[in-house]
Subunit: 394 residues, 2 copies
Amino acid sequence: MKLIAACLIKIAGTAMILEVEQMVEPKLHKLRSILEREGLDAAVITNPSNIQYFTGVSVGGSILVTPVDGSSQLLVPPLEYHRAMRLSRLRDLEIRPYYKYNLKGFEAPGLIRKGVYEALETVVEELGAKRIGSDLSASPAAHAERVKARLGNRLEKDIAEEIARERSVKDPDEIEAMRNAARVAEKALSKAIGELKEGISELELAGLIEYYMRMNGAEEYAFPIIVAFSENAAYPHATPSGRKLRRGDLVLVDLGARINGYCSDMTRTIVFGEPARRTRQIYEAVVEAVEEGINAIRPGKTGSEVDSHSRRILEKYGLSKYFIHALGHGVGVDVHEAPRLSPGSKDTLKEGMIVTVEPGVYVPGLLGIRVEDMVLVRQEGSEVLTSLQRIWVV
Amino acid sequence: MKLIAACLIKIAGTAMILEVEQMVEPKLHKLRSILEREGLDAAVITNPSNIQYFTGVSVGGSILVTPVDGSSQLLVPPLEYHRAMRLSRLRDLEIRPYYKYNLKGFEAPGLIRKGVYEALETVVEELGAKRIGSDLSASPAAHAERVKARLGNRLEKDIAEEIARERSVKDPDEIEAMRNAARVAEKALSKAIGELKEGISELELAGLIEYYMRMNGAEEYAFPIIVAFSENAAYPHATPSGRKLRRGDLVLVDLGARINGYCSDMTRTIVFGEPARRTRQIYEAVVEAVEEGINAIRPGKTGSEVDSHSRRILEKYGLSKYFIHALGHGVGVDVHEAPRLSPGSKDTLKEGMIVTVEPGVYVPGLLGIRVEDMVLVRQEGSEVLTSLQRIWVV
């Protein structure tokens, strides 16, 4: 069952398609599997991305309580109650607002007139849960401490790593959502590349690409876009500035959309004008490093093995000292999640994982070139989910 | 000494001014004051916003170590090394990259060939620090645990609340940065209001406003913009959708820019067409509640007192059951920081604090109206930093 509502939107004389794809199924059953496997009788989930993954509901100030059998409860503050009700598509999830102070007339079924930690304790006591798995290690420390103070030794095990492992392997509907998120970013970037002109600033180009992502349906950005020209691109995590584009510049763009709660992540570097000989050499080396990394991906390989494949290419060209970060990372509900592709990573690739491959060369004061694809681990190797061409000279 | 680089940028036929204001002075001396007051010999600061506040450097994966006397050290991963060096303007701050695995040739002065926690322990041992204040309660729990495992009983006190209190009272240069951030958002919103037309979607309007914020110099957004029409505005934290604008709709926009590391936060609700009688009544009640809240602000008042002033206005009109959140919050490096203006808040206002006043009425399925200003607490009352008119009927 797939629902596509397509509508045509006119922008700058060009028709663009806005697609609203079917939403991803909440993965609450996977939380139950973890509880069964670990012999726990309930879960207390506090990390917003985990709550979104399990319930499809992403609202502030919420805590999820899931018994191994029976209905789950999502505690939410009053301001998020109606949105949580609208987002929820699970029959066995009860949305319960909590508040401690008088909001003068706010009423809702299941309302708990207590602060969030007291409300949580009440719900856990109602359930009679005694062996609780939690993801408190994935929450802010002060928040985790307050939950611990209420639940005490009923908290048996931290299951944040088990959850991260579940999340790292994607179902077909998650892969589809991420394909869509990738497409939104690609369309926006390729349209903006067609409009590159001398004098445009990093800030304006950032705004333009974001605008095109919005026009293609981006409800959220996966992360703040990076737009950096030439010497600014030597900072891997540059923020856009007033720097204006000149002939011969490099244009590095690292962008992602978030569609139905799932992220995309992609980087392209565009040569605006005629590349210098040295620039062209580096560009080709980086693209070769991307290809080599992608070709190394298959189930069973470790993150450090894949990283070393790309890194060796840059070493061959004497560029490895300019490659100052890890090769890649998992993507999903969060733009950075398990597994890691890095020199020290022992994470093992599995079918269904989605990772980035993003080698870069950063020469301080001069230039940065990074090319990044988002890659699905397949039984027989890999599939690149970001289909935009890698080399751009415009 | 004030440096303004102004340049004219042509956009859609209208000249807009892009201003780059002087940067805010890092507040490292305030960290030293806390250490002296608390009888501590060093601070270990892990929260990114705290690090930005004290050093002006905002890069991922960093930890700040500040002795009560002598130079501070900022541990950064290699990929952030050059950016941290560029951002740093403190003489007594040493930027030290760390890494555990071989990055094949990366070299830098002060390099520590260890993982971040081991590097931190090394630096603390070099300093001989024995009574350390930390902000670990303001960091992710897993990160805090790893730091604790390395530093053990050398960690004497959590000073996250002391830091939050320092941050809540702004210096003149911080106020100036936030004025600029407010102006960027105001200019963008008022330009977009002038271009409202039937059929524009929430997504497109969001993209348009963001584009105008970029054109006005927004390096970052303070938070993801909210653009919600009529019934969607009944969700206080709506995300933009494909919903198209019709005559008679309400347009709620909640937006903020981040300039020189400081945020703005403002909401306006625009009536597009002729408002229904009931809509007009609610609109006027919300604006009255904003004004009443602002008038209640002065040093010495508590957060709950100010909240109750606005809340009483909505109660008078029988609307308080639709006002389902706190009245406001502090703004600064983070868009949400101390103090809180809410029914239960015991926080006391002080001169120099900057808070939002943002009452709202949310009628499920029908409409939401919120009006939000950013307000500076002054010796004799308050000053509104967001100068855009409150009532819009276009």
